[in-house]
């Protein structure tokens, strides 16, 4: 049953010679092609893989990589027309490490253009559909990576997470989505969206698999100055540690049922009920779980703060996309005209709007009030959470206030309550906190996810706690039921 198999199970099959890496690749490749038209997970599907036998748990096991990781000799588009023909000449550190571990690349996955979006609908090769319900989005920006794991094409897929780009789609796709501490994994070769918020993150179908990937990818990289010195640990070793007496908190202003009692959003209420049921299960596991109150003004500031910082950094990070030294050449008589034309044609309108917003925010006359104030709030929020982490080991919250939205869903749902529940994951990016989403229930036949965020550098404990909680959710190793297809 390849589609359901975890990394550990595939490892065992390989080690026992019940299967071969070639056979695994063939299955993954076939599934990738089978599902491509319907779900559109991939920009590029690899048909001729390179195999390397390595002494690693990942050796011989297929995976997918978001198409914003630089892969030498393999088209890398960031799902944008401005990079539609770009073939990198260098490997991202993540890809290099996976290659060295013998991991087998199945394809490069679709994202929201330049990773700026949360719907999986803005990539230049079309929308990505949710395997649990084709009429719904899977969320983004790591949409194709999420879909490829939810479809069972690969047991894990690499994405990137700047605001919630892995942890939100994980919730919508019934997956585990883990973003380790900022600096735990090198960003070298990850196309920058917002450098101070960008994290390498990944989808798996269980927490242990996330630990395995972290163990392979983590470590200091001289090419990325923000990377941490290696802590010399294998997180897989401590994944089953006892969690008795570990303290979790949730934020009252975000998930107290009282705030939403007048809401007619049934899904939201069900999400919250199930969340509070899960908290009880956590308590019975030995966790202490407490409610904490945080200034609502700060929480409401998360979204605009995220918008200001990410758009500002993105405007600058994408200023290299001019069609001069790479990318499609624009038309025109002067060099300015050809740059102008390349950018006008190369970016979708959404991206342009974000860039203008970012540029406005950075203008001298607005910088103090917009950009710097956002950076100030960022500190206030991070300081508040860090202070709470002195007492608590983790923050537990629903990853979203609902299930994966329909493609035609309007965005008029924006109440401030909704805002808090939908946008708090960015706190993990503000402070670089390790943060993991895992499935904990079904609402209207769609998966919902819970998120656990921990102290900076305490990835080990976050994985450990998530692994424990996973044991009581009843939703470990799920994949979407897609017809009768199997290989």
């Amino acid at each position: 049953m390849y589609r359901q198999d975890t990394i550990m199970e595939l490892r065992e099959q390989l080690d026992k010679k019940e299967t071969t890496k070639e056979e695994l690749f063939e299955k993954a490749n076939k599934l990738a092609h089978t599902f491509q038209e319907e779900y559109n997970s991939f920009v590029t599907i690899i048909d001729k893989p390179k195999f390397k036998d390595r002494d690693s748990l990942l050796s011989g096991i297929p995976y997918a990589l978001k198409d914003n990781f630089s892969t030498s000799g393999i088209l890398t588009t960031a799902s944008s027309n401005i990079l539609k023909d770009y073939v990198p000449v260098y490997d991202s550190t993540v890809y290099k490490k996976l290659k060295n571990a013998g991991a087998v690349l199945v394809g490069k996955t679709v994202l929201d253009e330049l990773a700026m979006g949360g719907t999986g609908t803005t990539g230049h090769t079309g929308i990505v559909r949710n395997p649990w319900d084709k009429s719904r989005m899977i969320g983004g920006s790591s949409a194709g990576s999420a879909a490829s794991v939810a479809l069972g094409i690969v047991p894990y897929a690499i994405g990137s997470d700047t605001g919630d780009s892995v942890r939100k789609p994980a919730a919508f796709g019934g997956l585990v989505g883990f973003k380790p501490t900022y600096g735990r994994i090198s960003r070298y070769g990850l196309f920058a969206f917002a450098s101070s918020l960008d994290h390498v993150a990944y989808f798996t179908r269980n927490v242990k698999d996330s630990a395995i990937i972290t163990d392979v990818l983590k470590g200091y990289d001289p090419q990325d100055m923000v990377t941490l010195k290696d802590d010399g640990k294998k997180y897989l070793d401590s994944i089953d540690n006892d969690i008795q007496g570990k303290k979790l908190f949730y934020i009252k202003e975000i998930c107290d049922r009282e705030y939403y009692k007048d809401s007619n959003d049934k899904e939201l209420l069900e999400v919250l009920d199930k969340f509070h049921e899960l908290l009880d299960k956590c308590r019975s596991l030995g966790f202490e779980v407490e409610e904490v109150s945080v200034d609502k003004k700060l929480l409401e500031a998360v979204y605009p703060t995220y918008m200001c910082i990410s758009c500002a950094e993105a405007t600058s990070n994408n200023a290299n996309l001019t069609g001069i030294q790479f990318g499609p050449r624009g038309e025109g008589v002067t060099t300015q005209e050809i740059m102008f034309d390349a950018r006008t044609k190369g970016f979708s309108e959404l991206i342009k709007r974000r860039f203008i917003l970012g540029s406005y925010i950075l203008q001298k006359e607005n910088q103090e009030k917009l950009f710097l104030n956002a950076c100030r709030v960022r500190r206030l929020i991070v300081d508040k959470i860090t202070e709470l982490f002195k007492e608590y080991d983790g923050l537990i919250l629903p990853a979203s206030g609902g299930i994966a939205p329909k493609f035609d869903a309007s965005s008029e749902k924006l109440s401030d309550r909704y805002l808090l529940l939908e946008n708090h994951l960015a706190i993990g990016n503000f402070g670089g906190f390790p943060s993991i989403t895992l499935p904990y229930g079904m609402v209207n036949d769609m998966p919902i996810g819970v998120n656990i965020t921990g102290r900076v550098k305490d990835d080990e404990l976050v994985l450990n706690m998530a692994n424990k909680i996973e044991s009581v959710t009843g939703f470990k190793n799920i994949i979407a039921k897609v017809g009768d297809i199997d290989v």
Partner: protein, 99 residues
């Protein structure tokens, strides 16, 4: 509401243009975000907080030793450039006045 002409100027400075109706959408978006940022401005003593650039204080930072490491071959440098002459990237004649 933010001036549409101003937004057009920003677009030009960012080296692209948008469809006319997109500026209207953008005006609305600006309206939302600027209102929210106004609220942030009201947070007590906000001006006394030091702006945060890095997610946390990283004490592992080391500057690079001044040594030659990996770099690209000439072919790699030019491999994605559409127009080239004499192993250099070719563009229309750049006159400083035009930019």
């Amino acid at each position: 509401m933010i001036d549409k002409e101003l937004l057009k100027k920003y677009a030009r400075l960012l080296m692209f243009e948008m469809k006319e109706e997109e500026y209207t959408t953008l005006q609305e978006e600006f309206d939302v975000i600027l209102k929210q940022m106004d609220l942030i401005g009201n947070i007590q003593n906000i001006s006394e907080v030091e702006p945060m650039t890095f997610p946390y204080k990283n004490t592992d930072v080391v500057l690079r030793e001044d040594e030659v490491g990996d770099y690209l071959t000439v072919d790699e440098v030019l491999s994605n450039a559409k127009y080239q002459v004499n192993d250099q990237v070719k563009v229309p004649r750049v006159v400083e006045e035009d930019i």
